[in-house]
C-alpha cells in the first residue's frame, strides 16, 4: 500500500490559501479575512485530537467548512489547481 504524504500543520498557510481563494471570488477584504479565520479555527478544532494528518484530509475538511460559509470561496479553493 502506498504511504500517504504527511506534512506539518501550517495555520498561516491555510489562512493565506483561503484568502487567495476569497480574493479571486471577489469577496471584500474584511469578510475574506473573517472567512479565513473561521476556516482556520475549524481546522484547528479538527486537528486537535490527531497525531498525524494528510494534506488531502485537511483540504477536505477545509472545503466542507468553506462550502457552508462561502460556496464561491469553496469552489475557488477546490478548483484552482484544476483550471487547465
Amino acid at each position: 500500500m502506498r504511504k500517504r504524504k504527511t506534512y506539518e500543520y501550517d495555520r498561516e498557510g491555510i489562512k493565506q490559501s483561503v484568502l487567495r481563494a476569497a480574493r479571486s471570488a471577489r469577496i471584500e477584504e474584511g469578510w475574506a479575512e473573517q472567512i479565513a479565520e473561521r476556516a482556520a479555527q475549524a481546522t484547528d478544532g479538527w486537528i486537535a485530537d490527531k497525531s498525524v494528518v494528510t494534506e488531502a484530509d485537511l483540504r477536505k475538511v477545509l472545503y466542507e467548512e468553506l462550502k457552508e460559509i462561502a460556496p464561491d470561496v469553496a469552489f475557488a479553493y477546490k478548483n484552482h489547481d484544476k483550471i487547465i
Partner: protein, 229 residues
Amino acid sequence: MSDLLNIATIALVGLVQASLQLNLGGLILLYHSSLGKHRRRKTRYLAKSYIWGAGAINLLAVGTCCYFISHIFVGKMNTTWLLITIGALLATSIVMWALYYRNQGSTELWLPRSFVRYIRKKSREVNDDISAFSLGMLSAFAEMPISIALYIVAGNAIVQMSENYQIVTLLGYALLSVLPMFVLKLRIKSGSSVVAAQRWRLKNRGFTQVTSGAGFLVLGLFILAFWVM
C-alpha cells in the same frame, strides 16, 4: 481567389482559434494567483500583458507560416499540401471531441502534467508585465499541437490577399484569436469574478468541446469546398 473568400477563411480560422481553452484557462489561473497577492489594478495590467503575449505568439506563428508558404510554395500551397492540412484539421477535430478534456468534473486539458505544473508555477511567480507577457506566450506555444493547422490555413489565406491588406488581416486574425480573453478581462473589470468565469467553463465544457471540434470540421470542409474543388 477573391479577397472576400480569404477574409472569410481568416475569420473562420480566428473564431476556431478563439474557441480553444488553454489560453483562456491560463488567464483564469493568472487572475487567481495574482488577485491573491496583488491589487486589482496591477492584476488588470498583468492580464493585459498576458493577452498581448498570447496574441504575439499567434501573430508570429501565422507570420512565419506566411513567410514559408510564400517562399516554399511561391504564393500559395499546392493541392497535395492543402489535402494534408485538411486531414490534419479533421484529425484535430476528432481529437477535440474524444480527448480534449482530461476528467469529467474539471476543465483540465490533455497536456503533459509536468508542463501544466510548470505553467501553474510560473503563474504564481508572475509579478511584472514581462513575466505575464512571457506566460501568455508560453500558453499559446503550449497550444501549438492543436493550433498549428490553423496557423497554416490562416497563413495560406493571408499570402493570397492583396498586398495592401495582408498586414491588416494578420493583425485582425491575431486580435480575433484573443477576443475571448479580452471579453473575460472586461467582464472581470465590470464586476464579475474569476470564480463565475470558471463556473461557466465547467458548466459549458461539453458545449465548448463540441463547438471547437465542429469548428475544425467545418473549416476542413470549407477549405475542401472552396480551395481544393
